[in-house]
């Protein structure tokens, strides 16, 4: 217990060599544990640093811009002569693209998950599941390429007056990008439903579809909903697809045919330019980042609560 004071006497004085070795060994063990703890604390430090930096730079921003204007003004033009600082256009762009993405990803992802978990043969599942996991890891900048140069031109054939940069194409591609994520996570949740619950349903004469819809899906619902919520958080925080394909002009609209910047696209746009450190433009990306962080954090927290609180008690 008294390691530190014991060290010097141990090496110099009358204690047996074996005991001395024990003391030294104990000391080393403590040092190692301390170092490992420091590494673990790096996670806390990172969170702290993120919050601190965002708050600090945002504070500078809000010295110039009133919080009232930030939340109520309808224009976002921090880099113009006639500067306006209303976050609404960026939030509108973020929500519109995310909503489109979810409209694509939730139905396809859920149906694919139910199919894989309850209908597909063992072999099919063994092949498809790793492919889905593989697709979750595809870098998002690549999807930006698809949105701008593949999907938008395709959409323009159907909707001739669609702009080159538009939220529709970006949202759809973001949705396609998220499908494997939802399918994979929701399938995990459904697989976690114990077999004896399925057997209970089949033993009552239920069909596959009835078992899947009436028993397995309700039993896995918290995991499935958590997958949706985490998918929302991903869509809101997604940067490259929207930065490439949705346009970089802040635009207060929910019309998917139009071009509009999201919060993330704005940050990218400013960072690509050469803004002096400490200028209002520089600070504005941190204020925007703070809003983004609050949005994704809320979704993440809700997702975790849903998963924890309604954890299935089979």
């Amino acid at each position: 217990m008294m390691i530190a004071p014991a060290i010097t006497p141990a090496s110099e004085l009358t204690i047996s060599p074996r005991l001395a070795k024990n003391v030294r060994r104990n000391f080393t063990e403590r040092v190692i544990e301390f170092i490992l703890m420091l590494a673990a604390l790096s996670a806390v430090a990172t969170t702290f640093a993120i919050v601190a930096i965002l708050l600090y730079e945002s504070l500078g921003f809000f010295k110039t811009v009133s919080v009232w204007e930030f939340f109520t003004a309808k224009e976002w033009t921090p880099l113009f002569e006639d500067a306006h600082y209303g976050i609404a256009p960026l939030v509108a762009g973020t929500l519109t693209t995310s909503a489109i993405a979810l409209l694509v990803a939730v139905p396809i992802g859920t149906i694919a998950a139910i199919y894989m978990s309850e209908f597909a043969s063992y072999k099919t599942r063994e092949i498809v599941k790793p492919i889905l996991e593989l697709l979750v890891g595809v870098p998002t900048v690549v999807f930006g390429y698809f949105a701008l140069l593949f999907v938008t031109p395709l959409l323009q054939k159907v909707i001739p007056d669609l702009q080159g940069f538009n939220m529709l194409g970006a949202g759809i591609v973001m949705g396609i990008m998220i499908v494997p994520y939802i399918a994979s996570v929701a399938e995990d949740a459904m697989r976690a439903v114990p077999m004896n619950m399925r057997e209970g349903s089949y033993a009552m004469g239920a069909t596959r579809f009835q078992t899947a819809i009436r028993v397995v899906t309700p039993a896995a619902i918290s995991g499935i909903v958590a997958a949706y919520i985490l998918a929302i958080s991903r869509a809101v925080g997604e940067t490259m697809v929207v930065a490439v394909a949705a346009g970089q002009q802040p635009n207060l609209t929910f019309n998917p045919m139009e071009s509009a910047a999201t919060i993330t696209a704005y940050i990218v746009q400013v960072a690509m330019g050469d803004l002096p450190h400490g200028s209002i433009g520089y600070q504005s990306i941190f204020a925007a980042g703070l809003v983004l962080m609050v949005m994704t954090l809320s979704f993440n927290i809700i997702g975790h609560i849903v998963r924890k609180k309604y954890r299935e008690q089979y």
């Binding site: 004896n196 619950m197 009552m204 004469g205 239920a206 069909t207 009436r214 039993a219 008690q313």
Partner: protein
């Protein structure tokens, strides 16, 4: 008392069963199930008694690669329920099952019991209400849950959950009910109530029960079958099998020499 009728409700004829890994789990089983009687399957673990039970509602069809060979014929319609043309779902609608571990669905008590009716397309609320009440009364659970039918089934105790599963199986008026070690996860008091329930249910339907507990077989069943390594060693009236077993292997098991 039990000499009154010996109507055969179902019988297995030269039934063989193979698991997908090739294991030959049942070897030429011939055995009747008598109507309104309780038949118990006993034997050391791995003897095939659960495998045999699960043939009766084609549970093995849920897993690819399993194979039946032989027949299980139901009376009075003489349907071979293992035949290729017979839909397992149809079999399961006639023969219901209660599992080893209570497995209520993540639904309310009411919806758990109504499940079989809903699966059959039942929509009439009055009819379902009546059936649910009847089934819960039949499972001796009605008085305990009548004021909280909309509670989640998971909130019930283990014994109550198992009686709920019995009510669920009862609600659809099955002809045969299978019990797969129904009390192995329960305490002695809950076990006693389930056993009592089974003896009452005998008046309405035919019961096949797998039990790991010989005393239970002796207490509740009219007929007992002793199985060993996939063979049906002996089948006769429960009293006979426990008092004067014909086969040496049965005697060894009953006297505790094989376990």
């Amino acid at each position: 008392m039990d000499q009154v009728s010996h109507v055969t409700k179902a019988e297995s004829r030269n039934l063989n069963f193979y698991y997908s890994n090739g294991a030959h789990a049942l070897k030429g089983i011939n055995m009747p199930l008598y109507e309104n009687k309780i038949t118990a399957l006993i034997g050391p673990s791995g003897c095939g008694k659960s495998t045999f039970l699960r043939c009766f509602n084609r549970m093995h069809d849920l897993y690819p690669g399993n194979r039946y060979d032989g027949q299980i014929v139901m009376h009075p319609d003489n349907t071979n329920i293992l035949a290729d043309g017979v839909d397992p779902i149809e079999v399961r609608m006639r023969i219901s099952m209660v599992f080893q571990k209570p497995n209520p669905f993540p639904k309310s008590i009411y919806e758990n019991v109504a499940y079989g009716l809903r699966v059959r397309g039942g929509k009439n609320k009055k009819v379902i209400d009546d059936k649910v009440e009847q089934a819960l009364r039949g499972a001796a659970l009605w008085d305990e849950v009548k004021d909280r039918l909309n509670d989640l089934a998971f909130n019930l105790s283990g014994g109550q959950q198992q009686r709920l599963c019995i009510a669920r199986a009862l609600a659809t008026d099955p002809e045969i009910m299978l019990f797969d070690e129904p009390t192995s996860a329960l305490d002695p008091i809950a076990t006693a109530s389930i056993e009592e329930l089974m003896t009452e249910l005998r008046n309405k339907l035919t019961i096949l029960v797998v039990t790991h507990n010989m005393q239970q077989a002796a207490r509740v069943s009219d007929y007992t079958a002793y199985m060993y390594l996939g063979d049906l060693v002996e089948f006769s009236k429960t009293d006979d099998i426990f008092i004067k077993p014909k086969d040496k292997r049965t005697e060894d098991y009953i006297t505790g020499r094989i376990g």
